[in-house]
Structures are given as structure tokens and as C-alpha cells.
Amino acid sequence: MKKQPKFLNLKAQTILIEVISALYIILFIYAALSKVQDFQKFKVELGKSPILNGCSNSIAVVVPGIELTLSVLLAMKRFQYYALYCSFCLMVIFSTYIIAILKFSSFIPCSCGGILQNMTWTQHLIFNLCFVCLAAAGILIYSQENKDLTRDKKGSLHP
């Protein structure tokens, strides 16, 4: 098998991946909590979406659920690599959804909570795409050695 080219040494690589995961964890937990905190409002706002009108009720539960699950998985070294793939997918879905709303929908509903609410849809899209790139970068630099690292009780990583 071809040996994976190494862009960075293990330490730098690990730090980068941990930072990316941490950013994702903060984003997901923040986003999920702001949805759950006023769940009824979130559900109503989601129902207004011209794209989701058939299944907004189940999506209202599933989305924060996935966000919370992923943030847990990202924190566990064993699943981190695969969780990055899932995060990548989720962010791509969100971004595509924003594009679909901006481009093809006759009216634009608002269903984000917290600070995300204050962003315009275009800012929101750029923000999302940054996260998409982060996840992709994290996946591409993830080496086998990094996968084999384990986290001790204090949270630091060891081979």
C-alpha cells in the first residue's frame, strides 16, 4: 500500500485536528441548545420553510439530535475520524439548503437561533462553507498514527 504523504508532524497534525473538532463541538452544541431552548419557536419557524413543509416536525427533532450526537462522537478519539465525515456531510447539507432557499425559493424564512440569527443568509453561507472546508482539511490530514492515539482520563492524547 502506498504510504500516506505526511504534510505535518504528528504533534502539529493532532493540534489542528483537535482544534477543528473543538470548533465543531462548540458550533453543534451551541446550535442544538439554542434550538432546544425554544423548541416550539424552532418548530414553527421550520414549518415555514418552503422546502421542508412535508416533514418539518420530524426534522425539528432529528437535526438537534444529530448535532448533539456528533459533538459527543467528535470528542471521542475512537470515532473522531468518522464523525468528521458526518460533520462534513451535515454542513454540506446545511449549505446546500441555504443556497436552495436563496436561489429557488420565493420567500426566505428564518429559523436560526442565537447569534446565528443576526447573520444575513449570505454571511451564513460563507460561515458554513468555512466549516465545510475545515472538516475536509481535518479528514485529509488525519493520519493512521493519529487514529491510534488514545485519550487518557485527563484528556491528553497518547500513542
Binding site: 416550539q40 419557536k41 414549518g47 415555514k48 420553510s49 418552503p50 422546502i51 413543509n53 447539507i93 485529509l140
Partner: protein, 344 residues
């Protein structure tokens, strides 16, 4: 190995995108089903005449006289453009407000019969002056309102909210308060959303029209708000298809699902009522409606449907406002003002 990851990432990307695309197409299907009505679409009912670029900014039509069109700015209350009726030249005006005037985002300017009115239903406030002066003065304080049309020199018809319901009332600028009258609007689901609509007035006769957004109905009343007749638009949505929900944490009532908009915008001249429809007829193809706005024409005397015509998007901009004055139709496509001649 790195190529494998690229491949998987690309695959993930494609899968995620197609999931949303799938959702999108499923939802489009729902909104494009049969509506059980037919449009008559004769050709050459309108003839393009001239067009002018108002440059950047969001605009709305504030008033039309026989020789000019007044265009207001959605973000700057002071700004007023006068376009000549040939739609060739613009003159920029700057309105002066009394000291300390603060307008909320619900302000708008009306120019009617040589008088400028600046209204803001949230404060509420009514400013007025002659168009030659451009220095507005405070008139008597009107009641709170959500829509307003001028019916003659001294009176307006307001849409107000009373006991959680929309209501049309007549207001005279030389009196305080409004004249109590029976409510012309009939509620269906709730008092606010189901009776939401567009209020327009025909300046010559003073007739007032209210066209509901979400059902196939409109009202024609005289300037004293006495009902003349109740008309029907051509589609079959006699009951507003609305889902209303309450968000307890904000004590707010809002729509819980995308509403089915039947009638979007309205304009009127001496003989006809022009209604921009949001629905597709059974003899139309969805693809052909993507870059046009459909206008249905009704006779004012009895509310009967006449025919329809299309206003195509201009430079990929959708219709944002339109008005009819005599045989001229003025349409705003974002910052382009387009003049059409009517052939009827």
C-alpha cells in the same frame, strides 16, 4: 490513501447535495398541483414602451399624476424621485421633515393630487404638505394603522387592528380618531392572517378595493366604506389555506406553514382592477411562469374576470411594485421602472 479520502469526501458531498435537491423537488411538486381554473391569455394586450434605470436602491411607487410618476425609497424617507410620464428623465427631491421626526420602517410616502403625505402607522404619524413646498408639517395624530390609502383631499381609508382583527375604517385628517363602521373584512382562520390583503383606491371615483392575499375574494366599497359588491378572483381558494401557530415564549402569533398566496399585488385604474396572482392555471406550464408575473384583469363595475397578461422579469429582476394610470402601466423591477401601454 489520500485519493481515497478525496473520493469519499466527494461522494459524501454529492450525496448530501442530492438529499437537499430531492427535498426541494418533493416540495415543488406539492405547490404545483392543479388549481382547477383556466386563464384567458390574449396576446398584445400590453405594449412595452420605455424603461429607466433608477440606479441602486429599493424603490416603490408613491404616486402618479398625468405628467409624472413619483418613486419613493424604501430605506430613505427623504428621498423622492420624480420621473416624467415618458419615463426618460428623473428629478431627485429631498423632503424636509419637522425637527425631531423619527420614522420607523413602516413609513411610506403617498403623492396624491399635488399633496405629499408621509405616513407611519407604527407611531402613528401623518405628515403632509403641498408638492411644491417639500417641507412636510405634522397633521393631527391618526390612529395606529397597518395600511392606508388616500381617498380624497381630506380623508384616508386605514386598515387598523381592533380586538385582534383587521378592520377598515375611514379617517378624516381634520378630525381626531376614526369613524366607527361595521367591519367589511370577514375572518376565516384568525382575525389577522386570514384577512390580510392589499388595500387600493381608485382616485377619481374614490372607490376602495381590498383584495385578500390568501383567498379568492375581493371587496369593492365606496369612499365611505359602504360595500358595493364582493368579487371573486378566478382561482378556487375560497378558504384561506393557513396554519397559524402561537410562539408562547414571545407571545407572538405567526404562520406555521408556507401560506398559499392567491393574490400578491394589486393596482387599479378607472375601469379595471389588476391583480398579480400567485397561482398557476390548468392551462399553464410551470416552466413558462418562472420568469414572468401573471396579472389578472377584472372589470371594476361588476368584478367580472376579463383576461390575463404576463409581465416578464427584467434583467432577471422580478416585479416588485406596479401601478396603472389611465392607459399606462408602470412596473418596478427592483431598480428598473418599466412603462407599458395598455391596449384595452
Amino acid at each position: 490513501m489520500i485519493y481515497n479520502r478525496f473520493l469519499i469526501l466527494t461522494l459524501c458531498f454529492i450525496l448530501s447535495v442530492s438529499l437537499v435537491v430531492l427535498l426541494y423537488f418533493l416540495s415543488v411538486k406539492i405547490s404545483h398541483n392543479k388549481n382547477n381554473f383556466i386563464r384567458v391569455i390574449p396576446s398584445h394586450k400590453i405594449v412595452p414602451n420605455n424603461i429607466i434605470d433608477l440606479k441602486v436602491g429599493r424603490w416603490y411607487l408613491a404616486g402618479i399624476t398625468h405628467d409624472s410618476i413619483y418613486v419613493g425609497n424604501l430605506y430613505t424617507p427623504r428621498k423622492l424621485l420624480k420621473v416624467d410620464s415618458a419615463v426618460k428623465d428623473t428629478i431627485s427631491y429631498r423632503l424636509n421633515f419637522p425637527n425631531g421626526t423619527k420614522l420607523t420602517r413602516s413609513y411610506f410616502n403617498l403623492i396624491e393630487k399635488g399633496t405629499v403625505y408621509t405616513l407611519d402607522g407604527n407611531q402613528p404619524i401623518l405628515l403632509t404638505c403641498d408638492i411644491s413646498e417639500l417641507s412636510l408639517k405634522l397633521a393631527t395624530k391618526p390612529p395606529y394603522f397597518t395600511q392606508a390609502v388616500n381617498v380624497n383631499k381630506r380623508s384616508f381609508v386605514f386598515r387598523i387592528v381592533q380586538n385582534g382583527e383587521n378592520k377598515l375604517v375611514r379617517y378624516r385628517t381634520d378630525s381626531s380618531g376614526f369613524k366607527e363602521s361595521p367591519n367589511l373584512l370577514r375572518k376565516q382562520v384568525d382575525g389577522i392572517f386570514s384577512t390580510d390583503g392589499n388595500l387600493v383606491a381608485e382616485p377619481k371615483s374614490g372607490k376602495v378595493f381590498y383584495v385578500y392575499y390568501y383567498r379568492n375574494e375581493f371587496i369593492c366599497a365606496d369612499s365611505n366604506l359602504k360595500l358595493i359588491y364582493q368579487g371573486k378572483t378566478i382561482d378556487t381558494n375560497s378558504i384561506a389555506k393557513l396554519k397559524v401557530a402561537k410562539i408562547q415564549s414571545q407571545n407572538q402569533t405567526t404562520l406555521a406553514a408556507p401560506p398559499i398566496e392567491v393574490n400578491k399585488r394589486v393596482a387599479v385604474n378607472e375601469n379595471f382592477l389588476f391583480v398579480q396572482s400567485g397561482l398557476i392555471a390548468d392551462n399553464e406550464v410551470p416552466e413558462s411562469l418562472e420568469s414572468v408575473s401573471t396579472i389578472d384583469v377584472y372589470a371594476i363595475k361588476d368584478g367580472e374576470y376579463q383576461f390575463s397578461f404576463y409581465l416578464p422579469d427584467f434583467n432577471r429582476k422580478k416585479l416588485t411594485d406596479f401601478r396603472v394610470y389611465g392607459k399606462n402601466l408602470y412596473a418596478l423591477f427592483d431598480h428598473y421602472l418599466y412603462k407599458y401601454r395598455l391596449n384595452f
